[in-house]
Symmetry: C2
Subunit: 424 residues, 2 copies
């Protein structure tokens, strides 16, 4: 008998029919004899509808905040209660738990709370009684203030992984609207191939590179706590993708050189032009940037022009964080001593990922040649041991993904089936 | 400085505009220097929409239950969070509390929980900090199971009254969509008159007689704990109605003879025909009825027919409880020894209420004459010290209310203004 944590996203429980379908699936898992803990997101667009209501009431609503967490957690409360009801109506025992009841203890950063400990005593009691435990995704509880918190983006996935870790579950199944992790986004590369197994390290790079199927935070948590993830579609019975830690799994399997190509159109590039080429300049710039809370991705510094003693520093970051960063830099122009700021939101990022890169020479050469053959200009390059990222013009990005996907022989024989929508 | 509890029903917070309007009102109260605790219902039709969703998922959904309470409390959670946000946006400090956080402790009867104690420590702390405390109406918490409960019908009013009692508030203001308590329902008697002051005893009789403005349970709770209620419209600044305890208030004021006429079309009449006229028959019948959980209202037993030694017993009860009662009686036909069961759902009930009845003879004669002059037949009569109730044909009830209202000179000079909708 195994202990399985199953997480269902908002698109899986979009309406009453979705709830019943998911409940049926859960009951089938239970009937196979496993202990089942379920983490559920808010139904379909509920979170957006609640946010919209909040903006109607307070047009200039600040993000985060105690009352916003109180509001948004109503969404998961509705879906978890309905799911428990549906499971009971289908003949199994179920009981729903709020984040607080499930012992999901966090700090007090409303809207982006960090898990400090997970004490799922009531969940375990429910399992001991043969019940299916349904846990509110996204929601936490701060013991000091006694207040409800939310985990922010990727929250429900993180709830599921944290529960799986605390309960020492055999696997954490993440049900979504795609059939697993693909070698590229099947919505833009129809011949993308499902990846049967991927290491958590590779998955982290894919998520950081823009793959939407798993949020980077939950993958990180899973890797740190040795939780095996199983990404599956809630609409099919396909095998999905296992995300595992090769060391813990004791795997002797030779890893494929490349697992996939991620892409991302959500970033912009900021260039700080004409900065003094002296020690401490980069530190000054990125201290100012860090104070805005922005998440910097790639950083590139040009070769200094000896004649002027000046250089340019470029970095990429999420578009919605650019305004604050530009304002902050502008207000420190004299202290930093730069000449100009350039802002470019027409960029795209491609990330080629594979643990086999470590032992295979020539991957970058093959990548650059494929792009060059397609007349696609590379504007920035950044690498890790198992990833190469390049920045291109936004309107060339999908072409870039296509030619790279082919160049590394990732194309499948058949086109993937894509379902609509994405969960949180 | 006073401490005021204000309760706003669902119709007062039907949409974002309603929330903002109510928030403005609350902020104005706070600015007058009073400490303010607010209890709020779910927005508009939210509760019905959640129930509808539950029925889509489980068509044969049982009433009550842990998961249904989890589901329904999402409604009040949404409205209280939005209200707190709106108050803060309008420049005052506010913090929302769930039933559990506000110390609303109940037994574990899901869907119809009884309050066992109220320990509003966090509410008091918020007031001490100068904050407005927003409390989730309808919701409670059972300490033994650690589960969320709901108070059932009239729940939010009861939440408000219980908090007012625990906090020793100076007054509990119940904001609704009418301008107070009227001498008759202004929707059917346009010349109904607002009652400026009514004793809690009279209010109990009016509520029991079918007046919808306050739920009988909250009036009972207020009377037992000496809470003064103030029923007001959230749409106007009219004076509304004070519901008070004359003994506690030390009032020397002469009470008016009649305060109003309530009516009720929600009941049906059951007649047990040909029961043995021997001691114990009524006890047997009403023991069977009580076991179904039905709420019996009026009971009338005919004079026995000496020739047969048999008599008829009639009683009224809410229509939706009649099916279970008829089934229960039918299955005990032999044990009770009755001949037939009659069921009549075409009845109406009128209740004339006034504390002055105690010291005024001739009230019943005047009532019966008014009905007789209008050719309205009386089918049942029941009285208390301060109330006379009669049952008529359903289609004659509104006429009956009209002629009685006039006969006791309750008609106002002008027609009342009626707003749409009713809160919970």
């Amino acid at each position: 008998m195994s202990l399985i944590v199953q997480k269902f996203g908002g698109s899986s429980v979009g309406d009453a029919e979705g709830i019943k379908r998911v409940a049926k699936r859960i009951v089938e898992s239970r009937k196979r004899g496993d202990d089942v803990v379920v983490v559920v997101s808010a139904m379909g667009d509920t979170t957006d509808e609640l946010l919209d209501l909040a903006h109607q009431v307070v047009p200039s609503l600040p993000t985060g905040g105690r009352e916003l967490d109180m509001l948004l957690t109503a969404g998961e409360r509705i879906s978890m209660a309905l799911l428990a009801m549906s499971i009971k109506a289908q003949g199994a025992e179920a009981v729903s738990f709020t984040g607080s009841q499930a012992g999901m203890l966090t700090d007090d950063r409303h809207g982006a709370a960090r898990i400090v400990s997970v004490t799922p005593g009531r969940v375990r009691d429910a399992l001991d009684k043969g019940q299916i435990a349904i846990v509110q995704g996204f929601a936490g509880f701060n013991k000091v203030t006694g207040d409800i918190t939310t985990l922010g983006r990727g929250g429900s996935d993180t709830s599921a992984v944290a529960l799986a870790a605390a309960l020492r579950a055999d696997v954490c199944e993440i049900y979504t609207d795609v059939d697993g992790v693909f070698s590229a986004d099947p919505r833009v590369i129809p011949r993308a191939r499902r990846i049967p197994r991927v290491t958590s390290e590779e998955m982290l790079e894919l998520a950081a590179g823009g793959a939407k199927v798993l949020h980077i935070r939950s993958v990180e948590y899973a890797r740190r706590h040795g939780v095996t993830l199983h990404v599956r579609s809630s609409f099919t019975n396909d095998e999905g993708t296992i995300v595992y830690d090769p060391e813990r799994a004791g795997s002797q399997m030779e890893e494929p050189m490349i697992v996939g190509v991620a892409h991302d159109l959500s970033e912009a590039k900021v260039t700080v032009v004409g900065t003094p080429d002296v020690p401490g300049t980069a530190a000054r710039i990125f201290t100012i940037v860090a104070e805005t809370g922005a998440n910097i991705d790639m950083i590139v510094q040009n070769v200094s022009e000896a004649a002027t003693g000046r250089t340019d520093i470029s970095f990429t970051l999420p578009k919605e964080e650019a305004g604050g960063v530009l304002d902050a830099l502008e207000s420190h122009r004299e202290a930093v001593g730069f000449e100009q700021l350039h802002y470019d939101d027409q960029i795209g990022k491609l990330a080629l990922v594979g643990a086999g890169m470590r032992t295979n020479a020539g991957v970058s050469a093959r990548l650059f040649k494929a792009l060059s053959d397609a007349d696609i200009n590379i504007e920035m390059i950044s690498t890790s041991e198992i990833r190469i990222s390049v920045v291109t013009r936004a309107d060339q990005l999908i072409d870039a993904v296509r030619v790279v996907h082919s160049a590394f022989e990732l194309d499948a024989d058949e086109e993937a089936v894509v379902h609509a929508g994405t969960g949180r």
